[in-house]
Amino acid sequence: MKVTLKVWRQSGPDAEGAFETFTDVPVDPAMSFLEMLDTVNVQLEAEGKEPVVFDHDCREGICGACGAVVNGLAHGPGKRSTLCQLHLRSFNDGDEITVEPWRASAFPVVRDLMVDRSSFDRIIQAGGYVSVRTGSAPDGNAMPIGKPVADRAMEAATCIGCGACVAACPNASAMLFTSAKVSHLGLVPQGQAERDSRVLGMVDQMDAEGFGGCTNHRECEAACPKGIGVEYIAQLNRDLVRANLGSAAK
């Protein structure tokens, strides 16, 4: 089978970008989307042309490095799938496929499909942790955590930080990402001591990075490769109110 690819090419953060078209790219239905880009790149490299730049690493859907908007969908048409786990069997012979980077001012383009997601790291640095020195922990079973709570925390913790939620959101909001970490740590007993300062710090940082606000489009939930739901955004909002009231009471 063959497809036509329209791939976003942009030589640097401040350069003007444009689509480059690759026609009649030979592909195999069992091929992954990134393997198709590899094929294009091997050809480009052999011709002495610069390959399409994109982030990728584990190719197992867990590292969160890869991602692109494919035919208007973050990570493409696969359900609960990262770009590396999208296979060409999801397309048809002769399809035209458009590939663009995540588009958000808080994710500036580095080159082609590669974007800078360090804003996510800074959100975590603003409170996405439990302050515990190595060596000072009590026994792991000292604090029982009921299975339902542990499971909900685990659901939230599965976030891979890929940024699809931001790319899918019309407001480029990072609420799903931020709420997943806030909820993961806010649900378990270990996270209680810093629960208020955590949500306040992370939300402040999220705003400072230039992410938009949440207006309940729920596109993030649909795009999330780990199936993290918007109930965690509700959880974040509750925690935020709690923290603000707590602060006001002081």
């Binding site: 195999d28 069992a30 091929m31 990134l34 393997e35 590899d38 480009l44 052999a46 002495g48 610069e50 730049v53 990728h56 690493d57 584990c58 190719r59 197992e60 859907g61 867990i62 590292c63 969160g64 490095a65 696969g78 609960r80 786990q85 296979h87 069997r89 080159r111 997601r117 360090s118 790291d121 975590i124 640095q125 603003a126 996405g128 942790y129 439990v130 515990v132 190595t134 060596g135 922990a137 009590p138 026994d139 792991g140 079973n141 604090m143 029982p144 955590i145 009921g146 299975k147 542990a150 925390a153 685990m154 913790a157 599965t158 891979i160 930080g161 993961h184 740590l185 378990v188 270990q190």
Partner: protein
């Protein structure tokens, strides 16, 4: 073999005396840095996986300044994140007879008596602290209904000591370490350099005092000075091209260290993981691992009849060979990885295999689903089943999985002493990058344990012993050693950019991988290894004549990154083959066809090979020299491993 010319100091510094108190006594004996002085020292940590992130965070908590580096866009993406199954710890929460000693014993035996006893004992001791630490960070380990931590069993063990977070244990542990690292970044104690690749270790007056890096965004080459350097740069499984490793995993940092005098130990000890999704086509870029935990409930089988073309559903039980249960009744489907891998290869070689494809065995959940119910199986393995279905289009609920062995983990690595210091003073190696604890074969759920043991609980103490003897605050990047290293990096880049061949680096990487898999893979022979040496040399020559790297060196250039890593893999491949050739025995994952027992198990030669083999760089175009660290077993007496 050339006579060794490079003097390598292979003093293990492993304490004598009772092993139970060895680590405590060692910690009493080594020097400490005064708390007020710690902030005057800077430590470079390369790599932010479990070992690197945990070491960076802990060193920073202690007061040291840390400069951390990773080639990914975020420290959270290091390849530890892909580990699925779990992490071992001798907690004995299940009351099934586990103990520090038993974990130590299992690990030494599982490694087929090619690891240093004292290191392994320490690993087992600190395993319990790791779980506590991770729980305190909020790592969402699986729990039972009473709220207590859950465990499962793993290959090579008769107790349930594996802690897990669904099939994403590595991810959750890494996010724990990353969160601790993030806290220290926010506090200004760790300076994080993302998208930065280490390309040289800088040695000043015989000690590691810094590194030269390339900023992958801009192509700028920079020097960073420090009082000590820690490499946490992972393994070299991608030497086989087709591996379960992430695409970015590479040997470059370790190889650069080797060329600066760090001995490379046991490079031929590479683990082939038994449960990977089989190879499906030429376009494929990697192989995907399916967690070994699946062997807890899945049953491995092949058709009894050679060349059976029936789909698995039409093969009745009587015509199936559950060969692991048949050959190894005690351990059954839970035999160690090397044993399971070779058994699968034997079946496939005999023509007993899966359809279509013919390169795999079945891993069947039919009986587990009948016994436990679909929901319970989904609870344990749901995300793994989904992942399998996403890749292959088949649901393991409906039809057995197809699996086959693939390169997964490398037990070999930079030689380190008990303090985790390489043969270059001031240069440390932690996690998979070192060779220390797994011997010739690693047991399941032990990699995460070792990475975090090194990073949280060993290195932060032992590095103090070195730093206490150093004047703090080395920052002279204008020193000639830095300038020379920068020049070497620039020259290498210029050479790669100047070549005007017609092939991509990936082309050569695939060729190398094929060659290594054929000659230095799951089963090795003298003839095959001897034939491989000139082939690797020829490949190296052709690479440097025929590769084409487009673009320029002074900007972001992924083709250049790939080319540099492939060039190092080719050189490394040669040492790996030499190591496999000179180790004339079979042990653990190193299987030489000539050395096997009557029932096809590895036959060790303890008289001649009960040692670590350490390779030293002797210069371009000169064969490396081989050195040994003899191993002594005072507690676990070497025996023929039997899992029957």
């Amino acid at each position: 073999m050339n006579a060794p010319r490079t003097p390598l100091n292979l003093d293990s510094k492993a304490p004598d005396g009772p092993i139970e108190t060895a680590w405590d006594r060692h910690r009493q004996a080594i020097r400490l840095v005064n708390p007020a002085n710690k902030r005057k020292y800077t430590v470079i940590v390369v790599g932010t996986g479990l070992a690197g992130a945990s070491a960076s965070a802990t060193l920073a908590q202690l007061g040291y300044n840390v400069e951390a580096f990773c080639f990914q866009d975020s420290p959270r993406r290091a390849h530890s994140i892909a580990a699925q199954g779990g992490i071992n710890a001798a907690k004995n929460y299940q009351n099934d007879g586990d103990s520090v000693y038993r974990l130590f014993y299992d690990t030494v035996k599982g490694g087929d008596f090619r690891a240093r006893e004292q290191n392994v004992y320490r690993l087992a001791q600190v395993s319990v602290d790791i779980i506590d630490q991770c729980v305190a960070q909020g790592v969402p380990f699986a729990r039972d209904y009473g709220g207590m931590l859950a465990n499962r069993s793993f290959g090579g063990a008769l107790v349930s000591r594996t802690f897990y977070a669904r099939g994403q244990t590595g991810q959750q542990l890494l996010l724990g370490a990353y969160s601790a690292l993030s806290e220290q970044i926010a506090k200004g104690k760790v300076k994080m350099h993302t998208r930065t690749e280490m390309l040289e270790v800088v040695v000043v007056d015989g000690k590691a005092k810094g590194i030269v890096v390339r900023d992958l965004r801009t192509g700028a080459v920079r020097s960073h000075a420090a009082d000590a350097v820690v490499l946490a740069t992972g393994g070299y499984g991608n030497v086989f091209y087709f591996a379960t490793n992430a695409k970015g995993c590479n040997v470059t940092a370790a190889w650069r260290a080797y060329k600066k005098g760090a001995g490379f130990a046991n490079p031929c000890f590479t683990q082939i993981h038994p449960t990977c999704i089989p190879f499906m086509g030429e376009h494929q870029s990697k192989l995907t691992l399916m967690s070994e935990s699946l062997r807890n409930d899945g049953r491995v089988w092949v058709p009894k009849k050679q060349g059976d073309t029936r789909p698995p559903s039409q093969i009745p039980d009587a015509e199936r060979d559950y060969y692991l249960e048949r050959i190894y009744p005690t351990f059954g489907n839970l035999v160690p990885r090397d044993v399971a891998s070779r058994a699968a290869k034997r079946m496939v070689d005999e023509g007993k295999t899966v359809v279509p494809g013919g390169m795999g065995v079945y891993l069947d959940f039919r009986d587990a689903i009948a016994r436990l119910g679909r929901d319970a199986v989904a609870d344990r393995y749901g995300n793994l089943f989904e992942m399998y279905e996403r890749i292959t289009g088949d649901s393991p609920f409906e039809t057995p999985m197809k699996i086959y062995p693939a390169s997964h983990y490398t037990m070999g690595g930079l030689w380190v002493d008990y303090n985790l210091m390489t043969t270059v003073p001031g240069l440390y190696a932690v996690g998979e990058a070192n060779f220390s604890d797994h011997g010739a074969n690693r047991l399941g759920a032990s990699a995460l344990m070792q990475g975090l043991a090194d990073g949280y609980f060993v290195l932060p103490y032992t590095i103090g012993d070195f730093l206490a003897g150093e004047k703090a605050g080395f920052d002279d990047t204008s020193h000639a050693a830095f300038k020379d290293a920068e020049k070497a990096v620039a020259q290498r880049t210029d050479t790669l950019m100047s070549l005007s061949g017609t092939k991509s680096a990936d082309h050569f990487h695939r060729e190398l991988g094929h060659l290594m898999w054929e000659h230095c893979g799951m089963a090795r022979t003298k003839e095959g290894l001897e034939a491989a040496l000139p082939k690797v040399a020829d490949l190296k020559e052709r690479f440097w004549a025929e590769v084409n790297v487009p673009g320029s060196g002074d900007t972001l250039n992924q083709a250049l990154e790939r080319a540099g890593r492939v060039a190092d893999f080719i050189e490394f491949g040669e040492v790996m083959v030499r190591d496999a050739l000179t180790r004339e025995e079979s042990c653990g994952a190193h299987f030489r066809e000539e050395f096997q027992t009557a029932d096809n198990e590895a036959r060790r030669d303890d008289e001649n090979f009960q040692h670590g083999a350490i390779w030293a760089y002797e210069g371009e175009g000169v064969a490396p020299s081989r050195h040994i660290e003899p191993l002594e077993f005072r507690y676990v007496k070497p025996s023929q491993r039997s899992y029957k």
